[in-house]
Amino acid sequence: MPMSMNERPLSPHLQIYKLELPMVLSGLHRISGIALSVGSILLVAWILSAVHSAEAFAGMNSFLRSYVGQFVLFGWTFSLIHHSVNGVRHLIWDTGRLLEVDQINSSSKIVLAIVIVLTLLAWILAGGFPGGGA
């Protein structure tokens, strides 16, 4: 591999373009997709722990209630909601709609607002943090 291949900056070219909301959301789509993929391990571990035994399930729950567990769960909640809401926008784009620059800017703000509201709502409804994080 020629040296120049290694030295090329990776997209998004932050030394060239200034960071805008649509770029951030696009980057987050990929990051949240990767986080969710890794999170599938947790989902399967949770299913197995419940099926396996009361001890395993209790162990899983005490991990999920720990500081690390709550951090992981919050990241997962955010990732799932961000990736799903933004993913629906991707599907709309694929039909050729909402592709004008101003539409992308305004839909980015709408996506961000929906994601923040739904993430907090889901977190509160599921009773995260208080009582947890011990």
């Binding site: 993929s37 197995l48 694929d94």
Partner: protein
């Protein structure tokens, strides 16, 4: 190149390997995931803080057991397709790209089978 029609070479629109099928399955699984994620989020909210007996009853119910399996398999399939694209973008060394893709594929199949097997065992005993 010997077997290609010169016209197709002139047009320059070669195959990008399995690009279209990959792109299409990524979208198809994404569409299927919209209702599945919605159901999953509501279920997790309802299950949070419940005891094991409650969780097991939920997993054993024909509807939720089947939909949970569908969610697991669909999201693993979709995640695997997505990760393949991510590896293609960031990993240049051919051998490393191939081994990452194979590892991710095996992991997805392993997780899917393990999860669904556990749910089947729960329902059918053994």
């Amino acid at each position: 190149m010997k077997y290609r029609n010169p016209l197709s070479i002139a047009r320059g629109l070669g195959s990008s390997k399995d690009g279209l099928g990959h792109w299409w399955m990524q979208r198809l699984t994404a569409i299927a995931l919209v209702p599945l994620v919605f159901w999953f989020a509501l279920s997790i909210i309802a299950l949070a803080g419940q005891d094991r007996a409650h969780v097991l009853t939920w997993m054993q119910s024909p509807f939720h057991g089947v939909v949970l399996s569908l969610f697991l398999v669909t999201s693993l399939y979709h995640a695997n397709l997505g990760l393949q694209a991510v590896f293609e973008d960031y990993i240049q060394a051919r051998w490393l790209q191939l081994s990452s893709r194979i590892t991710a594929g095996f992991a997805a199949v392993f997780l899917g089978f393990t999860g669904v097997f556990a749910l089947l065992r729960l329902v059918f005993g053994g």
